[in-house]
């Protein structure tokens, strides 16, 4: 970053000393993990730029939007419909945090045995290092897992502008009705916040922006089915991560452009890793920036990640919203229709997820699946049993990993991943 953003950070109430430390760690990690990769597509230059300005230019854009009277809405989950947020001209930013930062402070409010994702957003808040949190006019939590649900009660003490959305846990007609009423309640909350009434036309515009972003990400995903694979799993993960907070139209254009470049690669039979490199599908918990741990281990051990069954991945991008309706009721129904299909592990039963993993393994020609669960994330940790059972029954090798954001288990993880890749190669 060349511009001096310190005055902006100070005005947002950041702790500059800790914030510098965070940017330092982030910059080094990005250098080591990302910039050291060989044979990267040129289109990744845009992502490098976004990452270099992650707490700079993008925050300035948020602040400029606010100065112009627009609102910033921070979210933590793919059940919160971006379409509605964009319909009131607000800016949507995903707030999940992926670094072990401020955990000491977080553990003063939360039990130690809390998943790293929750501890991380508490840590970011308590150490005042996340400009996205501080620039948000409204935070939207949701009742997905028990950990998050209860944590938001405590989070309200440190950031009062939090709204909690109820998310159903089964897929019956009543659950669908609940999701619909929750989306209507959320629509009203956004209208109150922004002073804008969501018309059919506005909602259509929101749907269009998000559909285009999802289509671009689906195009990218499909290109990873090529052998050799044209883009690394690390880069694809980063793209999926950045989707949560970048300007949607600009981001979509950059991804489409990258995809055109990748199509040429595929046409020429070029890839980032030679044919024969073990192809891994990662399935499980979301990986928020800068959680690149598992992908870095897999790709550092001679494998390549070809897909993510994850909220930061296909769980978040699968299916478009039907925008053919002309009135607000039918568009809201179309929204519910799309989101109700999400195969999150909080649902019971959740056979859809297993079916999706099987489908993805085939589509992306995966040689094996690594199930990634954050420690203490019961929904995914428990569900990994069924995922493994059904994959194994079809002869697809599975490695189950349970980890967190720390680096202390890297050695053991590396051994297990290497052994898994050696096992697949035979």
């Amino acid at each position: 970053m060349t511009t001096d953003y310190k005055p902006m950070w100070t005005s947002l109430g950041l702790n500059l000393e800790k914030h510098d430390a965070l940017l330092d760690v982030l910059g080094k990690a990005y250098q080591d993990i990302y910039l050291s990769q060989q044979n990267r597509p040129e289109g990744m230059g845009y992502l490098d730029f976004v990452m270099s300005e992650v707490h700079g230019l993008r925050i300035k854009e948020l602040q400029d939007a606010r100065a112009a009277g627009r609102k910033v809405v921070g979210t933590f989950c793919v059940f919160v419909p971006d379409e509605l947020i964009l319909a009131v001209d607000a800016v949507s930013v995903g707030l999940c945090a992926g670094a072990e930062f401020g955990f000491d402070e977080a553990e003063r409010l939360l039990p130690r045995n809390t998943c790293a994702l929750i501890k991380s957003f508490f840590g970011f808040k308590l150490s005042r290092v996340c400009p996205y949190l501080e620039a948000s006019d409204l935070l939207v939590g949701e009742t997905t897992c028990d950990g998050k649900k209860k944590a938001y009660e405590i989070f309200r003490d440190v950031q009062p502008n939090i709204y909690v959305m109820e998310v159903p846990q089964m897929k019956t007609a009543q659950d669908r009705a609940l999701l619909r009423s929750e989306y209507l309640r959320f629509k009203e909350a956004l209208e109150r916040l922004s002073g804008v009434t969501i018309s059919a036309e506005r909602l259509k515009r929101g749907i269009d922006l998000v559909n285009r972003r999802r289509s671009a990400l689906a195009r990218l995903a499909a290109l990873r089915g090529a052998n050799p694979v044209p883009v690394s799993g690390l880069d694809a993960l980063l793209i999926n991560q950045v989707a949560f907070y970048d300007n949607p139209a600009r981001f979509t254009d950059a991804v489409e452009k990258l995809c055109s470049e990748l199509e040429k690669r595929v046409g020429k039979g070029e890839g980032v890793a030679p044919k024969g490199t073990p192809r891994i599908l990662v399935s499980g918990c979301p990986m928020a920036v800068p959680n690149w741990k598992l992908a870095a281990i897999i790709e550092g051990s001679g494998g390549v990640v070809v897909g993510e069954d994850s909220c930061v991945g296909e769980r978040g991008t699968r299916n478009l919203v039907d925008d053919s309706g002309s009135d607000i009721d039918s568009l809201m129904e179309a929204l519910v229709e799309r989101y109700f299909k999400i195969d999150c592990a909080i649902f019971t039963p959740n056979q859809e997820r297993v079916d999706h993993v099987l489908e993805m393994a085939e589509k992306y020609q995966a040689d094996g699946v690594i199930h990634y669960a954050l420690q203490f994330c019961s929904p995914y940790v428990v569900e990994s049993y069924r995922v493994e059972k059904e994959l194994s029954a079809r002869g697809i090798p599975v490695l189950r990993i349970e980890t967190d954001y720390s680096q202390e288990d890297t050695g053991q993880l590396k051994t297990r991943v290497e052994a898994f890749l050696e096992m697949i190669r035979k």
């Binding site: 349970e402 202390e408 288990d409 050695g411 053991q412 590396k414 051994t415 297990r416 290497e418 052994a419 050696e422 096992m423 035979k426």
Partner: protein
């Protein structure tokens, strides 16, 4: 052609030189605090054409030694199969890792389990406990086998188990019974891993802890199978690495 296999563990380093179908040399030394220097000294004056390194320190030492790396899982599988062609399951308990590997009929790794991050239920755990009971690690298994009664230790966490041991001592329990309880706790953990991968007949018990008589007996009793314990259980990984070095040499040329 001579191939070399090096297993750089957390507690010990093993070297095996393999030549014309036979082990030509095998050495085990303490890993110490400078494993790379230790490895360099170990290889001094030895002649070999190809080196494969495995173990916890493989990535640390392989580049400087001009060796290739392989995970311990593959190395133990290959080493165990060489020693016992009918092997179906390998149990390896080392200094800070324990693993259970299930092999197919052709010797391929089918499934494996490994302990997560801490040293619970590994050689290091037994070392710390032996020290608490003031007995050498070599005599620890024998002490456990001398128990005249049974007590229980519930924790496998080295820190918590140590405080359990101290309270058992304070209660006046005999050292043998406490030692047995600690061995039972480790055995229980390993058996859980065996069940997760699915036991296949032909069980080899390797790694430094295989030298402990009590643990071998407990595992064998509870699994209801006879365990094969190699003469030098600590060198199975290094043997596997040496065999892989020979294979790489053959497959890809010098």
């Amino acid at each position: 052609m001579t191939s070399a296999g090096l297993d750089v563990g957390s507690r010990t380093i093993s070297l095996v030189l393999f030549d014309r179908g036979e082990v030509a040399d095998s050495v085990v030394v303490d890993a110490g605090v400078r494993p790379l220097a230790r490895c360099q000294r170990l290889l001094e004056g030895k002649s070999y054409q190809r080196l494969v390194v495995t173990g916890y320190g493989r990535h640390l030492v392989a580049p400087s030694l001009g060796g290739e790396v392989i995970s311990e899982i593959s190395a133990f599988a290959v080493g165990a199969r060489h020693l016992c062609p009918e092997v179906g399951t390998v149990i390896d308990i080392g200094g800070q890792d324990s693993k259970v590997i299930r092999l197919s009929g052709t010797g391929a790794v089918e499934r494996f389990e490994m302990n997560d991050r801490c040293a619970a239920g590994t050689g290091r755990f037994l070392e710390v406990m032996a020290r608490t009971l003031e007995v050498g690690i070599e005599a620890f298994g024998g002490l456990a086998l001398s128990a005249s009664k049974e007590v229980q230790v519930n924790s496998l966490c080295t820190v918590f188990a140590e405080s359990e041991v101290i309270s058992l001592i304070a209660r006046g329990e005999e050292a043998g019974a406490i030692a047995l309880a600690l061995h039972q706790a480790v055995a229980k953990r390993i058996i859980g891993m065996v069940h997760r991968v699915g036991l296949r007949e032909g069980v080899i018990f390797a790694g430094g802890v295989a030298r402990n008589r009590c643990l071998g007996r407990l595992l064998s009793d509870r699994l209801g199978v006879t365990l094969t314990i190699p003469d030098e259980p600590q060198t199975v990984g290094a043997l596997g690495a040496a065999l892989l070095a020979a294979k790489f040499h053959k497959d890809f040329g010098g």
